[in-house]
Symmetry: C2
Subunit: 208 residues, 2 copies
């Protein structure tokens, strides 16, 4: 039996790894509040209120407001990295693996926009040690995408003069989806994923 929560946007957020139930409700409430207003503009009273609890209850499950953000950021980055690793380890050629990596990564940023927004844009609110931990995960994310592009260049599938710069641009393009994607807009996450996969293949000069 799943303990997934359904948010206002209709997204299914599988925060199954967070227990007990009250801690998960608080974390989901924090994700929504941080995504809507930003970390600094969100109050602990607001988070607790959304979870149907008193302000003090938050501190039973989390030491500080920052620990909530840290947990969210860690789980989110783990998930994002997992998506890219799965795509990178696929058994197609580089073109296919890059298309799959971009479309699934974008699908996550669009479909789980609430989470992705917090994960990608609230990094600066973390303290030095927590930020360093997350930055290490980001380097691994970068390495996965760069690896696929290097593979494609090696096999002659891609024509990329600046591998590092292009990797940066591809990731930047995908990540920024979390900023502009609108659940009530004209595009589904699947459609944006397909469009972006096509655009990225063009960027690396892959044959259609």
């Amino acid at each position: 039996m799943s303990t997934a929560e359904e948010t206002a946007g209709g997204e299914i957020e599988p925060w199954d790894e967070v227990t007990p139930d009250a801690a998960r409700r608080l974390l989901v409430a924090a994700v929504e509040a941080f995504a809507e207003r930003g970390y600094h503009a969100t109050t602990t009273r607001d988070i607790a209120g959304r979870a149907g609890m008193s302000p003090a209850a938050l501190y039973i499950h989390y030491k500080t407001k920052e620990e909530l953000l840290h947990r969210i950021s860690r789980i989110g980055h783990d998930r994002a990295l997992d998506i890219l690793r799965t795509a990178a380890a696929g058994d197609g050629d580089a073109t296919l693996r890059l298309a799959e990596a971009v479309s699934s990564f974008v699908r996550w940023h669009a479909g789980r926009r609430t989470t992705a927004r917090v994960v990608q844009y609230e990094l600066d609110a973390l303290g030095p040690e927590a930020r360093a931990e997350i930055l290490d995960l980001r380097r691994q994310v970068d390495a996965e995408v760069r690896g696929i592009i290097e593979d494609g260049v090696a096999t002659g599938e891609f024509d990329v003069p600046d591998v590092h710069g292009t990797t940066l641009a591809v990731l930047s393009l995908c990540i920024d989806v979390a900023r502009w994607f609108n659940v009530d807009g004209p595009r589904t996450p699947d459609e944006v994923g397909a469009l972006y996969a096509d655009l990225v293949l063009r960027m690396v000069g892959a044959a259609k």
Copy 2:
């Protein structure tokens, strides 16, 4: 004689239109503080301190902290729109005009990263009327880029199945430069501009 200010990053910020001098110093201080910490994490005491004034002095020149953000956002969007209009109104073909639009737009986001960060990422901190005004400017930004792409499709220079989606992606790519660009990093704004112009021409299927 210019009254331009030189910031810590070595960028020249021509806030000439802001007078008197004390008001401009406060505004430049606010740009730096908002860019570093975000609007909500910045205190009016910090802004005034950076400008070498007491906290109360801020309220001689601005009604509220939000008015400071509004002024910054308005001026920044005006400048960004001006850059795109100039490129769009150039006399080359669509390929040349798109390349010029992207490279100059990216150059601004990288070279004036401090300003661009505030302009692009602190929109949600504005009140409803101010936000509506800025969103209207963003629609004009979108229309300029879309116009060039439509021109290129009409002349057969570009091969773009989804003009609206591609416009969104191109702008998204450029804007996100303000998030990741590092003044101390390996690339100059000129280099990023050139790289991105090339990537965008590939995205629209333009002949090299």
